[in-house]
């Protein structure tokens, strides 16, 4: 019997993985081949999706990007084919990666506990005890992968030290940044890593309840994750001592901000709370709460199982470990590339990404989602690291890199950033709620050539007000894309009459 691995990841399904799976079944039936189809997550080589793998004595041989008509008997036996990419593990794009958080994604059946291989991190945490488990997370240097980069261990210690009758672990799976999909891939491809990470967090701080706050835009991930919770519950991996509930948002980007997320979980409008109090002191329902991103939590089991030193040994400067970089937009090799911090932006875009999908020159890349700065080629020597990006008025955020070719209109991108802020503002802070709409109008006036110098000064002043006068990153960071577009691409803001 030949095992054939077909991704069940949203990106693969979006480009026809289901039709390919049906063709595989049909061809096998017609040729009387005995096969066993295993549905996996995605390896992250999305430009090759649908990418299927056939188990052979040499390893898992890959074929992609496939259409149903490509399926033949030779392919199903791991033989030669025009779309064969060889043994997938030997593919240079994977060989160059350091897979820590994504070690299993795309390889295993996401709902098989046998494939998952046991909760080694949780066992280790129980051996170490809560305080030493938190110390291990701190020593690993892991920083919040949602975007803020706050040291995870310090957050845990704060919540552990707070005394209360109840505490909560909240996983922020509201992955709203354009160009990011790593959280979704984990929920679809390796959900037990997240479940184990949350169980470790619960053990470490003394919480008995966890919530995963996901998005309505991720219907497929939510179905897979809910199934994984059922499997884990049936195996008593989560139980009355620590249970996890999946909650779904309702299309509000701002609920990815941690305090707005808490408001939403409590059943209110997703409006940002002022800090302090920190959620680690007074979070969900006023109780000490750890809020961590999917990637942060899914990395914790590896850290506990392999030791903090192993994780801290890789990385760059104060950015330890790996970052699952997500290459998206107009890029030839789009997908997920997990590597230690320290590569340059240029390496990631030109070398790993292979330039644009359109074949035209790369003109700009937006790093860190819709609130991240646009980088021109001149800044491609920036090292992929929290501090190096901050030093150039940018952010790595949740690890998304969106590539644009030379047809991009950077004034339109700056205008969109303001428009997006206006659409998604929770309304609490005046600079964000009203300033964003005024920002769209000012950019429109600049493009019409109306009082150009005055309006350029005005947009700069408005951005400063947004930055300093907003409680959260939505209003506070919208100036990044706007000002970076103005600074690096001023020619696009010339009046258009």
């Amino acid at each position: 019997m030949t095992r054939i691995f077909i991704p069940n990841d949203s990106a693969a399904l979006a480009v026809g993985a289901e039709a390919v799976a049906r063709a595989v079944l049909l061809e096998a039936a017609q040729r009387s081949l005995v096969i066993d189809i295993v549905r996996t997550g995605s390896r992250g080589l999305h430009w090759l999706e649908p990418l299927i793998e056939v188990e052979t004595p040499e390893g898992r041989v890959g074929y992609g990007p496939l259409v149903p008509g490509d399926i033949d008997a030779t392919l199903l036996q791991g033989g030669a084919h025009a779309k064969c990419i060889g043994v997938v593990d030997d593919h240079p794009w994977l060989k160059r990666q350091t897979r820590v958080t994504f070690a299993r994604c795309g390889i295993v059946d996401p709902l098989s506990l046998k494939d998952y291989g046991g909760m080694r991190g949780l066992s280790r945490a129980r051996e170490l005890g809560p305080a030493a488990s938190i110390a291990a997370v701190t020593a690993s240097g892991l920083r919040g992968r949602g975007g803020a980069g706050f040291p995870t261990g310090i957050k845990w210690k704060t919540a552990a030290d707070a005394s209360a009758d109840r505490k909560y672990i909240v996983c922020n799976a509201d992955e709203g940044d354009s160009g990011t999909f790593a959280d979704r891939m984990i929920m679809e491809g390796d959900p037990f890593a997240l479940i184990e990470g949350m169980a470790i967090a619960g053990f470490a701080v003394g919480a008995r309840k966890g919530f995963v706050y996901s998005r309505s835009e991720y219907p497929h991930a939510n179905v897979t994750f809910a199934k994984a919770l059922s499997v884990a519950r049936a195996a008593q991996l989560i139980d009355k001592d620590f249970d996890i509930e999946l909650r779904i948002g309702a299309g509000a980007y701002v609920c990815g901000e941690e305090t707005a997320l808490l408001e939403s979980l409590e059943g209110r409008r997703g409006q940002v709370r002022a800090k302090p109090p920190l959620p680690a002191h007074e979070g969900l329902f006023g109780k000490p709460t750890i809020i961590n991103n999917v990637l942060s939590l899914a990395t914790v089991p590896w850290i506990l199982a392999h030791g903090a030193e192993a994780y801290a040994a890789i990385g760059f400067g104060k950015s330890r470990g790996t970052m699952p970089v997500q290459l998206a937009g107009n890029v030839k090799h789009a997908g997920l590339f997990e590597a230690p911090f320290g590569m340059t932006l240029g390496q990631l875009v030109d070398d790993i990404g292979g330039g644009t999908a359109s074949g035209r020159p790369v003109r700009a890349v937006q790093c860190g989602g819709p609130l991240g700065a646009y980088f021109p080629r001149a800044l491609f020597d920036t090292v992929y690291d929290y501090e190096a990006f901050a030093a150039r008025d940018g952010l790595i955020g949740h690890g998304g890199i969106v590539v644009f070719d030379d047809t991009v209109d950077m004034a339109a991108q700056a205008r969109f950033a303001m428009e997006f802020c206006a659409i998604e503002s929770c309304g609490k802070c005046t600079p964000c709620r009203i300033g964003s709409t005024r920002g769209v109008e000012v950019i429109d006036r600049i493009l019409k050539g109306e009082k150009r110098e005055m309006n350029l000064a005005l947009i700069e002043d408005l951005c400063r007000t947004l930055k300093l006068g907003s409680l959260c990153a939505l209003g506070g960071f919208t100036p990044y894309p706007v000002m970076s577009a103005l600074r690096h691409f001023p020619e696009d803001f010339a009046g258009r009459g």
Binding site: S178, R215, H220, A328
Partner: protein, 155 residues
């Protein structure tokens, strides 16, 4: 098939089924929308009473979130991504062509009740942009022709 007439008994059942949850309002609203296709105005006072909230508070939550509708959507709901990664792959032109084809604007339903097109900001398969969900099914590497065909397939 979606239930057409909000009936008080059914609304109370839905509320009661979720009342044990911590912070039950969003799960209740999702369940109501799954049942009726939108949040019936008449359901709001019932929910408010059950959760000991004011009607204004419940309405405030309903109106805050983009997902909750105040009237039914078309038979096919397209969630078409407007965000940056899709823009980089011609998303704006795609949206313009598809909206024009169906003769509607964002968030509108075609006159025959067949299609609603909602803007969304990232569906998380930006690596195969431009992207959309059609009645929950993911579609990537779209052009206008493919998206229109996918929508019309089921109408």
């Amino acid at each position: 098939m979606l239930a057409e007439i909000p009936n008080e008994k059914r609304v109370r059942e839905i509320v009661a089924a979720h009342a044990h949850l911590e912070g039950p309002l969003l799960p209740i609203l999702h369940a109501l929308q799954a049942e009726y296709g939108f949040i019936p105005r008449d359901a709001i006072p019932i929910v408010a009473e059950a959760l000991n909230l004011t009607r204004a508070e419940v309405y405030g939550v309903v109106s805050f979130y983009h997902d909750f509708r105040d009237k039914p959507a078309g038979r096919r709901v397209v969630k078409l991504c407007r965000a940056e990664a899709c823009q980089a792959m011609g998303g704006a032109a795609l949206a313009e062509a598809v909206l024009k084809h169906f003769g509607i604007a964002w968030k509108e339903t075609s006159a025959d009740g067949a299609v609603t097109i909602d803007p969304v900001y990232c569906l998380g398969f930006c690596s195969v942009a431009p992207a959309a969900l059609v009645n929950g099914a993911p579609l990537g590497r779209l052009d206008a022709k493919r998206l229109i065909a996918a929508v019309e397939e089921g109408t």
